[in-house]
Amino acid sequence: MKILDFISQPWPWYVSGVMIAFIMFLLLFEGKNFGMSANLRTMCSMGGAGKIADFFQFDWKSQRWNLIVVIGAIIGGFIASNFLTPDQSIELNSKTTAALKEMGFANPGKSYVPEEIFAMERFLTLKGFLILLVGGFLVGFGARYAGGCTSGHAISGLSDLQIPSLIAVVGFFIGGLIMTHFLLPIIF
Protein backbone atom coordinates (compact mmCIF):
# COMPACT_ATOMS: atom_id res chain seq x y z
CA MET A 1 0.00 0.00 0.00
CA LYS A 2 2.86 2.37 0.79
CA ILE A 3 4.11 2.16 -2.79
CA LEU A 4 0.66 3.00 -4.12
CA ASP A 5 0.44 5.99 -1.77
CA PHE A 6 3.84 7.10 -3.00
CA ILE A 7 2.81 6.83 -6.66
CA SER A 8 -0.50 8.55 -5.95
CA GLN A 9 1.17 11.89 -5.25
CA PRO A 10 1.82 14.25 -8.17
CA TRP A 11 5.15 13.27 -9.73
CA PRO A 12 7.92 15.85 -9.62
CA TRP A 13 9.22 17.27 -12.89
CA TYR A 14 12.56 15.45 -12.74
CA VAL A 15 10.90 12.01 -12.44
CA SER A 16 8.74 12.78 -15.44
CA GLY A 17 11.67 14.18 -17.42
CA VAL A 18 13.79 11.08 -16.81
CA MET A 19 10.87 8.81 -17.75
CA ILE A 20 10.21 10.67 -21.02
CA ALA A 21 13.88 10.32 -22.00
CA PHE A 22 13.63 6.63 -21.09
CA ILE A 23 10.53 6.22 -23.29
CA MET A 24 12.41 7.83 -26.17
CA PHE A 25 15.27 5.40 -25.57
CA LEU A 26 12.92 2.39 -25.55
CA LEU A 27 11.50 3.43 -28.93
CA LEU A 28 14.98 4.00 -30.39
CA PHE A 29 16.00 0.58 -29.10
CA GLU A 30 13.01 -0.88 -30.95
CA GLY A 31 14.26 0.87 -34.09
CA LYS A 32 11.49 3.50 -34.01
CA ASN A 33 11.18 7.21 -33.36
CA PHE A 34 9.34 9.05 -30.62
CA GLY A 35 6.76 11.21 -32.43
CA MET A 36 3.10 11.42 -31.53
CA SER A 37 1.72 13.66 -34.28
CA ALA A 38 2.81 11.20 -37.01
CA ASN A 39 -0.24 9.16 -35.95
CA LEU A 40 -2.55 11.90 -37.23
CA ARG A 41 -1.13 11.41 -40.72
CA THR A 42 -1.44 7.64 -40.36
CA MET A 43 -5.12 8.04 -39.41
CA CYS A 44 -5.68 10.11 -42.58
CA SER A 45 -4.08 7.38 -44.69
CA MET A 46 -6.13 4.68 -42.99
CA GLY A 47 -9.24 6.64 -43.89
CA GLY A 48 -8.26 6.64 -47.57
CA ALA A 49 -6.80 10.16 -47.82
CA GLY A 50 -4.13 8.76 -50.16
CA LYS A 51 -6.71 8.82 -52.95
CA ILE A 52 -7.01 12.59 -52.59
CA ALA A 53 -3.48 13.74 -51.74
CA ASP A 54 -0.19 11.95 -52.40
CA PHE A 55 1.09 13.12 -49.00
CA PHE A 56 -0.98 10.29 -47.55
CA GLN A 57 0.21 7.65 -49.98
CA PHE A 58 2.49 5.55 -47.84
CA ASP A 59 2.36 2.15 -46.26
CA TRP A 60 0.44 3.10 -43.13
CA LYS A 61 0.63 -0.46 -41.87
CA SER A 62 4.34 0.16 -41.23
CA GLN A 63 3.14 2.71 -38.66
CA ARG A 64 0.88 0.32 -36.77
CA TRP A 65 3.35 0.16 -33.88
CA ASN A 66 2.77 3.89 -33.25
CA LEU A 67 -1.01 3.42 -33.18
CA ILE A 68 -0.44 0.72 -30.55
CA VAL A 69 1.55 3.29 -28.55
CA VAL A 70 -1.52 5.55 -28.79
CA ILE A 71 -3.79 2.80 -27.47
CA GLY A 72 -1.31 2.26 -24.64
CA ALA A 73 -1.36 5.99 -23.85
CA ILE A 74 -5.17 5.97 -23.64
CA ILE A 75 -5.12 2.99 -21.27
CA GLY A 76 -2.27 4.58 -19.30
CA GLY A 77 -4.32 7.76 -18.92
CA PHE A 78 -7.30 5.70 -17.77
CA ILE A 79 -5.26 3.80 -15.16
CA ALA A 80 -3.49 6.91 -13.87
CA SER A 81 -6.73 8.88 -13.66
CA ASN A 82 -8.87 6.19 -12.04
CA PHE A 83 -6.44 4.34 -9.79
CA LEU A 84 -3.30 6.39 -9.22
CA THR A 85 -4.52 9.96 -8.73
CA PRO A 86 -7.05 10.34 -5.89
CA ASP A 87 -6.50 14.10 -5.72
CA GLN A 88 -6.80 15.63 -9.19
CA SER A 89 -6.31 19.26 -8.29
CA ILE A 90 -3.41 21.18 -9.81
CA GLU A 91 -1.40 23.45 -7.55
CA LEU A 92 -1.03 26.56 -9.64
CA ASN A 93 0.96 29.71 -9.06
CA SER A 94 -1.35 32.21 -7.28
CA LYS A 95 -0.67 34.70 -10.10
CA THR A 96 -1.88 32.16 -12.65
CA THR A 97 -5.01 31.51 -10.60
CA ALA A 98 -5.71 35.24 -10.31
CA ALA A 99 -5.30 35.74 -14.07
CA LEU A 100 -7.67 32.84 -14.80
CA LYS A 101 -10.30 34.17 -12.38
CA GLU A 102 -10.13 37.53 -14.11
CA MET A 103 -10.77 35.75 -17.41
CA GLY A 104 -13.87 34.17 -15.88
CA PHE A 105 -12.60 30.70 -14.96
CA ALA A 106 -14.55 29.70 -11.85
CA ASN A 107 -12.26 27.09 -10.27
CA PRO A 108 -8.72 27.26 -11.68
CA GLY A 109 -6.77 24.09 -10.92
CA LYS A 110 -9.70 22.25 -9.33
CA SER A 111 -9.30 19.48 -11.90
CA TYR A 112 -6.88 18.69 -14.73
CA VAL A 113 -8.79 20.54 -17.43
CA PRO A 114 -11.02 23.62 -17.09
CA GLU A 115 -14.77 23.11 -17.32
CA GLU A 116 -14.93 26.41 -19.19
CA ILE A 117 -13.38 24.62 -22.19
CA PHE A 118 -13.95 20.89 -21.77
CA ALA A 119 -17.31 20.44 -20.00
CA MET A 120 -19.88 18.58 -22.13
CA GLU A 121 -22.36 21.45 -22.21
CA ARG A 122 -19.67 23.79 -23.53
CA PHE A 123 -19.14 22.17 -26.88
CA LEU A 124 -22.85 22.30 -27.50
CA THR A 125 -22.44 26.07 -27.77
CA LEU A 126 -20.95 27.52 -30.96
CA LYS A 127 -18.12 29.32 -29.15
CA GLY A 128 -17.19 26.28 -27.07
CA PHE A 129 -17.24 24.03 -30.13
CA LEU A 130 -15.11 26.47 -32.13
CA ILE A 131 -12.46 26.67 -29.39
CA LEU A 132 -11.99 22.89 -29.49
CA LEU A 133 -12.21 22.73 -33.27
CA VAL A 134 -9.80 25.59 -34.01
CA GLY A 135 -7.36 24.49 -31.28
CA GLY A 136 -7.20 20.95 -32.63
CA PHE A 137 -7.04 22.06 -36.26
CA LEU A 138 -4.08 24.37 -35.60
CA VAL A 139 -2.25 21.62 -33.70
CA GLY A 140 -2.76 19.10 -36.52
CA PHE A 141 -1.98 21.50 -39.35
CA GLY A 142 0.99 23.11 -37.60
CA ALA A 143 2.53 19.83 -36.44
CA ARG A 144 2.60 18.40 -39.97
CA TYR A 145 3.73 21.68 -41.53
CA ALA A 146 6.58 21.88 -39.00
CA GLY A 147 7.27 18.16 -39.44
CA GLY A 148 6.70 17.25 -35.81
CA CYS A 149 5.22 18.22 -32.46
CA THR A 150 6.50 18.45 -28.91
CA SER A 151 7.72 14.84 -28.87
CA GLY A 152 9.18 14.84 -32.39
CA HIS A 153 10.93 18.21 -32.24
CA ALA A 154 11.27 19.39 -28.62
CA ILE A 155 12.35 15.96 -27.33
CA SER A 156 13.59 13.76 -30.21
CA GLY A 157 14.90 16.49 -32.52
CA LEU A 158 16.61 18.60 -29.86
CA SER A 159 18.16 15.46 -28.30
CA ASP A 160 19.75 14.92 -31.71
CA LEU A 161 20.89 18.59 -31.66
CA GLN A 162 18.92 19.37 -34.83
CA ILE A 163 18.77 23.08 -35.68
CA PRO A 164 15.43 22.69 -37.56
CA SER A 165 13.90 21.35 -34.34
CA LEU A 166 15.19 24.36 -32.43
CA ILE A 167 13.54 26.66 -35.00
CA ALA A 168 10.29 24.68 -34.63
CA VAL A 169 10.41 24.92 -30.82
CA VAL A 170 11.01 28.69 -31.06
CA GLY A 171 7.92 28.75 -33.30
CA PHE A 172 5.92 26.71 -30.74
CA PHE A 173 6.73 29.35 -28.16
CA ILE A 174 5.98 32.35 -30.36
CA GLY A 175 2.57 30.85 -31.13
CA GLY A 176 1.94 29.82 -27.52
CA LEU A 177 2.88 33.23 -26.16
CA ILE A 178 0.66 35.07 -28.67
CA MET A 179 -2.28 32.81 -27.79
CA THR A 180 -1.79 32.97 -24.02
CA HIS A 181 -1.05 36.68 -23.68
CA PHE A 182 -3.07 38.29 -26.49
CA LEU A 183 -5.75 35.95 -27.82
CA LEU A 184 -7.00 34.00 -24.79
CA PRO A 185 -7.86 37.24 -22.89
CA ILE A 186 -9.97 38.27 -25.93
CA ILE A 187 -11.62 34.86 -26.30
CA PHE A 188 -12.57 34.62 -22.60
Partner: protein, 137 residues
Protein backbone atom coordinates in the same frame (compact mmCIF):
# COMPACT_ATOMS: atom_id res chain seq x y z
CA UNK B 1 2.15 -10.32 -30.00
CA UNK B 2 5.15 -8.40 -31.29
CA UNK B 3 3.21 -5.24 -30.54
CA UNK B 4 2.95 -5.85 -26.79
CA UNK B 5 6.15 -3.87 -26.18
CA UNK B 6 4.62 -0.83 -27.85
CA UNK B 7 1.49 -1.18 -25.78
CA UNK B 8 3.62 -1.17 -22.63
CA UNK B 9 5.65 1.84 -23.84
CA UNK B 10 2.41 3.71 -24.57
CA UNK B 11 1.00 2.72 -21.19
CA UNK B 12 4.10 4.05 -19.46
CA UNK B 13 3.89 7.26 -21.50
CA UNK B 14 0.24 7.76 -20.55
CA UNK B 15 0.87 7.25 -16.85
CA UNK B 16 3.93 9.53 -16.84
CA UNK B 17 2.17 12.31 -18.73
CA UNK B 18 -0.86 12.13 -16.45
CA UNK B 19 1.03 11.82 -13.16
CA UNK B 20 3.30 14.75 -14.00
CA UNK B 21 0.24 16.87 -14.92
CA UNK B 22 1.74 17.61 -18.34
CA UNK B 23 -1.67 16.80 -19.83
CA UNK B 24 -3.29 19.64 -17.87
CA UNK B 25 -4.49 22.67 -19.82
CA UNK B 26 -3.63 24.75 -16.74
CA UNK B 27 0.01 23.64 -16.77
CA UNK B 28 0.40 24.75 -20.38
CA UNK B 29 -1.23 28.11 -19.62
CA UNK B 30 1.06 28.56 -16.60
CA UNK B 31 4.11 27.61 -18.67
CA UNK B 32 3.41 30.22 -21.34
CA UNK B 33 3.00 32.82 -18.58
CA UNK B 34 6.40 31.82 -17.14
CA UNK B 35 4.79 31.39 -13.73
CA UNK B 36 5.98 27.89 -13.01
CA UNK B 37 9.18 25.95 -13.53
CA UNK B 38 7.29 22.63 -13.72
CA UNK B 39 6.95 22.17 -17.51
CA UNK B 40 10.41 23.61 -18.17
CA UNK B 41 11.79 21.17 -15.63
CA UNK B 42 10.11 18.23 -17.39
CA UNK B 43 11.30 19.20 -20.87
CA UNK B 44 14.74 20.25 -19.58
CA UNK B 45 15.34 16.97 -17.72
CA UNK B 46 14.08 14.91 -20.67
CA UNK B 47 16.44 16.85 -22.94
CA UNK B 48 19.42 16.54 -20.60
CA UNK B 49 19.14 12.75 -20.61
CA UNK B 50 17.86 12.68 -24.20
CA UNK B 51 21.02 14.39 -25.50
CA UNK B 52 23.22 11.95 -23.52
CA UNK B 53 21.24 8.96 -24.86
CA UNK B 54 21.28 10.04 -28.50
CA UNK B 55 24.92 11.16 -28.52
CA UNK B 56 25.99 7.90 -26.83
CA UNK B 57 24.05 5.85 -29.39
CA UNK B 58 25.69 7.79 -32.22
CA UNK B 59 29.27 7.70 -30.93
CA UNK B 60 29.23 4.07 -29.89
CA UNK B 61 27.11 3.10 -32.91
CA UNK B 62 24.80 1.11 -30.67
CA UNK B 63 22.43 -1.35 -32.28
CA UNK B 64 18.69 -1.79 -31.88
CA UNK B 65 17.19 -4.88 -30.24
CA UNK B 66 17.08 -6.55 -33.65
CA UNK B 67 20.75 -5.77 -34.21
CA UNK B 68 20.23 -3.01 -36.79
CA UNK B 69 22.08 0.31 -36.57
CA UNK B 70 20.02 3.04 -34.87
CA UNK B 71 19.81 5.81 -37.44
CA UNK B 72 18.86 9.45 -37.04
CA UNK B 73 17.63 11.11 -40.21
CA UNK B 74 18.81 14.72 -40.33
CA UNK B 75 15.91 17.09 -40.95
CA UNK B 76 15.94 19.20 -44.09
CA UNK B 77 17.53 22.58 -43.55
CA UNK B 78 14.96 25.31 -43.88
CA UNK B 79 13.44 28.08 -41.82
CA UNK B 80 9.91 28.92 -43.03
CA UNK B 81 8.29 25.49 -42.57
CA UNK B 82 9.65 25.07 -39.03
CA UNK B 83 8.98 28.63 -37.95
CA UNK B 84 5.53 29.13 -39.53
CA UNK B 85 4.43 25.55 -38.84
CA UNK B 86 5.75 25.90 -35.30
CA UNK B 87 3.84 29.14 -34.69
CA UNK B 88 0.60 27.60 -35.97
CA UNK B 89 1.17 24.58 -33.74
CA UNK B 90 1.94 26.80 -30.74
CA UNK B 91 -1.28 28.79 -31.19
CA UNK B 92 -3.28 25.56 -31.09
CA UNK B 93 -1.24 24.07 -28.25
CA UNK B 94 -1.96 27.04 -25.97
CA UNK B 95 -5.64 27.19 -26.99
CA UNK B 96 -6.50 23.49 -26.60
CA UNK B 97 -3.89 23.02 -23.87
CA UNK B 98 -2.88 19.72 -25.41
CA UNK B 99 -0.36 18.57 -27.97
CA UNK B 100 -0.93 15.27 -29.79
CA UNK B 101 0.44 12.96 -27.05
CA UNK B 102 -1.66 14.35 -24.18
CA UNK B 103 -4.79 14.27 -26.38
CA UNK B 104 -4.76 10.47 -26.25
CA UNK B 105 -4.03 10.44 -22.52
CA UNK B 106 -6.99 12.75 -21.88
CA UNK B 107 -9.32 10.33 -23.67
CA UNK B 108 -8.32 7.81 -21.00
CA UNK B 109 -9.07 10.45 -18.38
CA UNK B 110 -12.65 10.57 -19.67
CA UNK B 111 -12.33 14.10 -21.08
CA UNK B 112 -14.48 13.18 -24.03
CA UNK B 113 -14.62 16.64 -25.57
CA UNK B 114 -10.91 16.11 -26.37
CA UNK B 115 -12.25 13.82 -29.13
CA UNK B 116 -13.36 16.95 -31.00
CA UNK B 117 -9.84 18.36 -30.61
CA UNK B 118 -8.38 15.09 -31.89
CA UNK B 119 -10.75 14.89 -34.86
CA UNK B 120 -9.98 18.52 -35.67
CA UNK B 121 -6.26 17.71 -35.49
CA UNK B 122 -6.77 14.88 -38.01
CA UNK B 123 -8.69 17.36 -40.18
CA UNK B 124 -5.85 19.89 -39.84
CA UNK B 125 -3.32 17.24 -40.88
CA UNK B 126 -5.52 16.30 -43.84
CA UNK B 127 -5.82 19.96 -44.87
CA UNK B 128 -2.03 20.33 -44.73
CA UNK B 129 -1.73 17.32 -47.05
CA UNK B 130 -4.07 19.05 -49.52
CA UNK B 131 -2.39 22.45 -49.59
CA UNK B 132 1.25 21.65 -48.81
CA UNK B 133 2.52 22.32 -52.33
CA UNK B 134 1.25 25.89 -52.10
CA UNK B 135 3.05 26.56 -48.80
CA UNK B 136 6.63 27.80 -48.36
CA UNK B 137 8.84 25.01 -47.03
Amino acid sequence: MKYIRFLVIGLLFGIVMFKSQAVSWYRIFEMFRFESFHMYGIIGTALFFGVIIVQTIKRRQLKSRKGNPILFAPKNKSVPRYLIGGIIFGLGWALAGACPGPMYVLIGNGTFSILIVLLAAVLGTFTYGLVRRKLPH
